[in-house]
Amino acid sequence: MDRKAVSFLALGLLAGSLLTTAALLPSIRSARTGGASGRIVLKLGHVLPPSHAVHIAMEFMATRLSELSAGTVELQVFGGGQLGSEPENIEQAQRGALAMVKTSAAALEGFVPDMAVFGLPYLFRDEEHYWKVLLGDVGEEILRAGDPQGVHGLCYYDSGSRSFYTLTKPILRPEDVREMKLRVLPSRTARDMITLLGGGPTPIPYGELYTALQQGMIDGAENNPPSFYTSRHYEVARHYSLDEHTRVPDVVIFSTRIWEGLTPQVQSWIRQAADESVAFQRKLWREQTEDALREVEKAGVTIYHPDQAAFAAAMAPMYETFEGTRVGELARRVREVR
């Protein structure tokens, strides 16, 4: 054979195999969605480490779901940001590429504006009030607010209360925040809170925070005790001031597109498994919080209990900026819950 014939033969084979693949695509797709004997596989993405109470609770949810459905519904949990960051996961859920996402309510703010209410400091009187709201009408209404955005809220998880931790100087009074560069969550309300106290809110991705603290690029950050402990930030930030300024819950959301394609029976199994995992997670969270505080103290971190009323008074003007808005109205109703 001459060169010309061989060339065209090779080209023809290549083009032919490409066309065949393209022609077979629809059948591959239908095999995947149809599934053998109607078995349903749901994927859940989140960014926390597997030792975290939230991850363990979602593994519990997966086990319960499998038991309730006699193995016909499988929930696969992908932690540690394997499927992307929180906003990326939420976008995937909106488009039906991912069934479930566990996200902080702060990251949901950009999608569901109502979530901003949780970013308000000292919104809840105490833990009892917090859970009464989350499990009550107002909490339910905020979960439902995601439905038009393509994310169906399933349940809240405890994420404790956030407090400041600093490198050199402890924060004992609101004035101490002045001139300090503090890392905050990527949310509008979190930023405004630090600005109000005269500090410099510095957005740093969570994964880079340890190095930033170590190099003294910022003066401190804020988080709940288990995260302060598991992230090992306590190795560099030696002052933990339990001012408990915000309680931003974690939220488990379901892709509305996928949710609507499920039978009512499957939906009720998912609901039940989610509700059962909430009680489990709350208990686990309380234990992990106590453990974390004990461990960081053992590691030589000084824990302070500043006067929370002073912080609440200094941050109160934040409520005025929301007056007359939907978030302001929600905040008022939250506070009315007895």
Partner: protein, 172 residues
Amino acid sequence: MSVTRGAALAWHGIVRGLEIFTSSLFVALVVVVLWGVVSRYWPGIVPSDWTEELAVYLLVWVSLLGSALTYRSRGHLGVDYFVSHFDPAAQRLTVILVELCVLLFAGFALCYGGYRLVTDTLGSGQLTPVLQWKVGYFYSAVPLSGLFISAFSIEHLLEPAGPPATGAAPAA
């Protein structure tokens, strides 16, 4: 004759405009990142929190528009080892087939898929956390890039001398 000449001039102007626009976005990217660093370390300045967010989206725009421009100058990577051993007539056919594949991808994935991405995101009203800008507008880089890649692909196919052999492509 004058009509085609006018169209060619207009097309040339559009491409030049795209080049200038993409370069200025790159300049903006450098300035924004520099300011982000300076504001973090300079005493007395409140650290800028919007720089990182803007830098991410600027990088997306520079990459997608830059990739279209690179496609025009045939600067993208390709495995041409086997094709370079082909007979010249088969080489020309390969180039046409490759252009058609790119056209299909740019039209379906980037233009149509990108259009869906933009309308869905605008519809959901998603806002960026710091700047509070609509994320959907940022995403419009995808269909825009797809539009230009399709146009450049058609331009390649219409080239009067016929598409040059792959081996002759300038390594940009």
